[in-house]
């Protein structure tokens, strides 16, 4: 049971922070684009870069989840 629960919790809890972060990031970028539409191209590029960095934190959680799922925690058998 715990073998199934652990990876689920790892990715589930780990995705909360990046989710909020990406939301805030896009909010800021969209407000900036609305205020200065003439630089929206540049803002979009930086926004996507920022999203990738925020997303990679969720990916770390995913890696931990996958490790738990396919390799298993040592001493848990």
């Amino acid at each position: 049971m715990i073998e199934i629960l652990a990876p689920g919790l790892a990715i589930g809890l780990g995705a909360i922070g990046p989710g909020i972060g990406i939301g805030l990031l896009v909010m800021g970028a969209l407000q900036a684009m609305g205020r200065n539409p003439e630089v929206s191209g540049e803002i979009r590029t930086n926004m996507i870069l920022g999203i990738v960095f925020a997303e990679s934190i969720a990916i770390y959680a995913l890696v931990v989840a996958l490790l738990l799922l396919f390799v298993g925690a040592p001493g848990l058998q």
Binding site: V52, F53, I59, Y60, V63
Partner: protein, 343 residues
């Protein structure tokens, strides 16, 4: 909008939807075996060194970059056209981007390494989307696969038009059988002979010949180590031994407590760089691969298509992020630490 659902279009739409429903109901794709370490290809080893499928994919990506490079420089002209035009366009875009970050001199100096990493990772990631990746390989009994890679779930096989494929009927090794195989395999290893299971359950496992290169941690950690070590080399070349001041703050500046902690943080952040670079790339590509597997497993027709588009984007983005971070780390290494200025 109304025209879309008339005449020929309507037939095509209904046909596609019908195919999706039929494939969802009747075409069953087995879920590929998902393994974290790269699979060793059975029977392929050079002097005790096992060739893995990610290694072959890495070489394939290398060859692609080399081939495109050679094709580009084969016919050079003052007025570029074709491939040369494309290459110059790519070159100019990234040169101007790097100039914005680090200035013209550094952009010129490190553009080759930037573009090498970018193109290599781009092709390594995009190769994953080519049909045949993860699906063409060597089929072996699940007992052998369990002994070598720890796979306990196999599928029955059937032959369709001369090609052997896996069906969706599962064969799962239970705990007692797993234990038997382990002891048998250990005995065969000790006697230095090839392992043959004395009975087979009829389940088979596919070991793909090719698997996306970045789904192997050996590649991503190796690349990240190279980048971080190279950034230190660049720092030492620029500033000599003064470069290490940023890590040895207390010795140089006379033991201010804050500097001591800054030095420790700088030191730790070097290791964090290696981990974040390698796991970001590995995690994204591995997760994308699993996503594609699962989507093809749910509905084999049309459903994986949007996710392949997503993977196209993710593959480029991760290659780009890796390359741009390489440049940023190199650039940071040439700055003397802020604390050095005031003494």
């Amino acid at each position: 909008m109304r025209k879309l659902f008339q005449g020929k279009n309507l037939i095509v739409i209904i046909g596609v939807l019908g195919a999706v429903v039929v494939s969802a109901l009747f075409v069953k794709v087995p879920l590929p075996t998902i393994l974290l370490p790269a699979e060793k290809i059975p029977g392929l080893q050079i002097g005790g060194f096992h060739i893995t499928n990610t290694l072959i994919a890495t070489l394939l990506a290398d060859l692609t970059v080399l081939l495109i490079g050679l094709l580009t420089v084969r016919k050079m002209s003052a007025v570029p056209k074709g491939l040369q035009n494309l290459a110059e366009w790519v070159f100019e875009i990234f040169e101007s981007m790097l100039t914005d970050i680090g200035g013209k001199e550094k952009a010129r100096a490190w553009l080759p390494i930037f573009l090498t990493i970018l193109l290599f990772l781009l092709f390594a990631n995009w190769w994953e989307l080519v049909p045949g990746f993860d699906s063409v390989g060597i089929i072996e009994p699940v007992e052998v696969a369990y002994a070598q890679n720890g796979v306990s779930r196999g599928y029955e096989i059937e032959s369709v038009a001369g090609i052997v494929t896996l069906t969706d009927r599962q064969v799962i090794l239970d705990k007692t059988r797993q234990h038997e195989i382990k002891t048998e395999f250990a005995a065969a290893e000790a006697a230095d002979e090839e392992y043959h299971p004395h009975e087979t359950s009829g389940g088979y496992v596919l070991t793909p010949l090719l698997r996306a290169a970045a789904t192997d941690l050996n590649l991503t950690i190796g690349l990240a180590l190279f980048v971080v070590l190279m950034s230190h080399a660049i720092g030492v070349r620029k500033m000599g031994l003064k470069y290490f001041r940023r890590f040895l703050m207390p010795v140089i500046t006379g033991m201010k407590p804050i500097d001591f902690f800054v030095g420790i943080l700088e030191f730790i952040s070097e290791f964090a760089k290696i981990i974040s670079l390698s796991f970001r790339l590995f995690g994204n590509i591995f997760a994308g691969q699993v996503l594609l597997f699962v989507m093809a497993f749910l509905v084999a027709f049309l459903l994986p298509l949007p996710f392949m588009g997503l993977e196209l984007f993710v593959g480029f983005m991760q290659a780009f992020v890796f390359a741009i971070l390489t440049f940023i780390y190199f650039e940071q290494a040439t700055h003397s630490h802020a604390g050095d200025e005031h003494h």
